[in-house]
Symmetry: C2
Subunit: 431 residues, 2 copies
């Protein structure tokens, strides 16, 4: 068969879909500083987290095992959309006139159009296992909230979502997606929590932030009966679940007969980035490879490139453990950019740690630049990317143009974390 045809590098699906998650912590030369109890300032104990998370989740948060089996019930749900395709961006390549080989892993084929189901399904499963009846969470752009609403409906869990007000108003479609699953969606800051009320009273049009929405979700989750909190990014366990992205990509790149020299993902809390990157970080750490790994964030919310590295709360009210991470401060309210999923003041501690170790290079792009990149990608590859994912595209284009300047055949792999069918208005405004 014609070589040009081999664009979707999947071998038999069952050979590509992993049956184990990969835990980068098992291969790190040193661990990040531990989370601290917000009251005592002492390293957090698993039991401290029990009011917040299901026990199965807490175990995965703390595990040092290298590989964690994916339960059959979750694998069965993954198999509906995984393995996701790895695609060779031949049209984008042509339009850039670059000798670089550009590949993207397309997570937009996930049920709700993004990578978020990878952890949502796992979390809903773990919760259902121990009789949890309600999961409460926050969402920015709504990708996470809709993924959890879907997962909850599959595993018989009621889902309540605090949606950042600016996204709630920009993206009504995502709210409807959640409600169609039977989820309850509140615009945050809301009047449903003590913390939300104080902010809502000050300003009924308060744009909200992920930090505020997390506080509201935590408050409601910990006050309810058989109710727990569910988190879409940042935590070690979430990053563990997302490793399926990179594990598949590793096998698919091998099937394509190419080794990536540069890996790119966008970062908000760090989950899709870690998903694509960590299995390749392993290659750097364990196999002595020298893969360049780039995390791309918005200039409007530059935690890695301009934040401080220090202990800070994951939420605005200061209810979460203190996390050692790059932060813009828990009270930071980012501008209402369209990449709502990247509007987070902090960063996954594991990603911050890799930046500190020099293993991950951070980069920031403007909204203008990422819409330009997203539009070019759409015109050439025919997929409308989510504004979040367009950050990765913008960096991939810059890398491909650098390779052109140097006349080098670099191999670039980026994660296309989601599609933009629900962000069309943003494209209409930014064309």
């Amino acid at each position: 068969m014609n070589r040009a045809l081999i664009k979707r590098f999947s071998a038999r699906d069952a050979e590509i879909l992993p049956s184990l998650f990969y835990n980068l912590k098992a291969d790190l030369p040193m661990l990040p500083k531990p989370p601290l109890h917000p009251g005592t300032g002492q390293p957090i104990q698993p039991s401290d987290l029990e009011p917040i998370f299901p026990k199965g989740f807490i175990a995965q948060e703390g595990t040092m095992e290298r590989y964690i089996p994916i339960p059959a019930e979750v694998l069965e749900k993954y198999a509906v959309y995984r393995p996701t395709p790895l695609i060779y961006a031949s049209n984008l390549r042509k339009s850039l006139g670059t000798p670089a080989h550009i590949f993207y892993k397309y997570e937009g084929v996930g049920p709700m159009g993004s990578h978020k189901s990878n952890t949502a399904l796992m979390q809903a499963f773990l919760a259902a296992q121990e009789g949890v009846e309600t999961l409460v969470t926050e969402t920015g752009a709504g990708q996470w909230g809709s993924a959890l609403a879907h997962a909850g409906s599959l595993f018989g869990i009621k889902v309540k979502v605090f949606m950042v007000r600016v996204s709630y108003r920009q993206k009504p479609g995502r709210r409807i997606l959640m409600e169609l699953f039977g989820a309850e969606v509140k615009e945050s800051p809301s009047e449903a929590t003590a913390f939300g009320k104080t902010l809502f009273a000050q300003d009924h049009d308060h744009p909200g932030s992920l930090g505020i929405a997390i506080s509201e979700a935590l408050e409601m989750a910990t006050q309810g009966i058989r109710s727990k909190y569910s988190i879409g990014s940042v935590s070690d366990a979430v990053l563990l679940h997302q490793s399926v992205i990179g594990l598949e990509a590793e096998k698919q790149m091998a099937a394509a007969g190419m080794e990536p020299e540069t890996i790119i993902g966008c970062v908000g809390g760090g989950s899709n980035f870690s998903g694509i990157a960590f299995p390749f970080v392993r290659k750097n750490l364990v196999e002595g490879k020298n893969i360049r790994i780039i995390a791309v964030e918005p200039e409007a919310c530059p935690s890695l490139t301009e934040g401080e590295l220090r202990y800070d709360h994951g939420d605005t009210a200061g209810m979460t453990p203190l996390l050692f991470m790059h932060t813009l401060g828990k009270d930071f309210i980012p501008a209402p950019i369209h990449a709502g999923g990247l509007r987070y003041h902090g960063m996954a501690p594991l990603v911050s740690h890799l930046v500190t170790l020099g293993i991950v290079k951070p980069k920031a792009y403007s909204q203008e630049k990422i819409f330009e990149a997203g539009s070019l990608f759409y015109k050439t590859e025919g997929i409308l990317p989510a504004p979040e994912s367009s950050h990765a595209i913008a960096a991939a284009i810059d890398e491909a143009l650098a390779a052109k300047k140097e006349g080098k055949e670099r191999v670039i792999l980026f994660n296309l974390s989601g599609h933009g069918f629900l962000d069309i208005n943003a494209y209409a405004k930014n064309r």
Copy 2:
């Protein structure tokens, strides 16, 4: 590997993606009555079509060859999204409590979210081959228009689209998708054509219809220089291109170790239905199988179930050849239902022929019923279906419930022609 995991029945992609289109006409015991010249009333000659279509397209419209090679340039574009997944609907099955095995072929992973790219890419390629610079077309819900806009942008062809006014207003997102590719989109009836002007003058809010939009597109296409008309359904060549759906499904069902006993597709002009069905019609005709084949249309536009079988024009102005088909009359204006892609007064002559021969059973469903089916599918399978595709789902559910009543393990395969991410407002209104 766990049997439950084998939900996406693809073997190696390159083994599933067909390299030939299948032409049902080569296996028909008798052909449908030929199209007639609108002026002379005589059977149409290929040369009569030259002002309208590219010559390569006309050749495919008339061919009696059983298999037609797919050009390498088109296969390369297909390979970005094909083979599309065949999915076992285990969650839907569970919720219905049926012993039936329900499979769906998911065309919503196509670039613009539907099956329409299968013929759009081929038509843009054929046009580019002979120096055509502009393709003009019509679109209902916008799935066809956006697929052609995408294909045109890949093959360097300017695309102009007349979009039925009611859909233009219901689905602004689809218009933006087309415009982002550089396509020109006009709301039809428009002032850009003589025919459109007469209707627009009578009523500036004229809801339009596919028949009217076709007339406008034909008028503009035939008056332009190096400009041709492109059609999204109905014609034999379009049905030929769509055969990739059923050809893949055939191999994927074999990989799943099951033979479908019932095949279901929704019908407007007939293209996605024919795509899934014709390779299985072949099994009935050539291999002596007895597969039930069901075409589902909206009650609001019931050409197969309530239309007359006679010669009629494909468009409202009477510019197209006379087609022998089930028709509600070229002046029929269907109610503004959300399944804009099914609001067509006529039917593909080949589909009408199969209904006449008793090989295809037609069925009609109400909008209420299809939104109910679509919502249940969404809640169980996690994919929001296009309202068009929900017609097929509704029939699949009824078949599965009938199997439950009889206590039989029927194998049902339906085509999920597209996703509904751009139809969320319709779901919001119909919940």
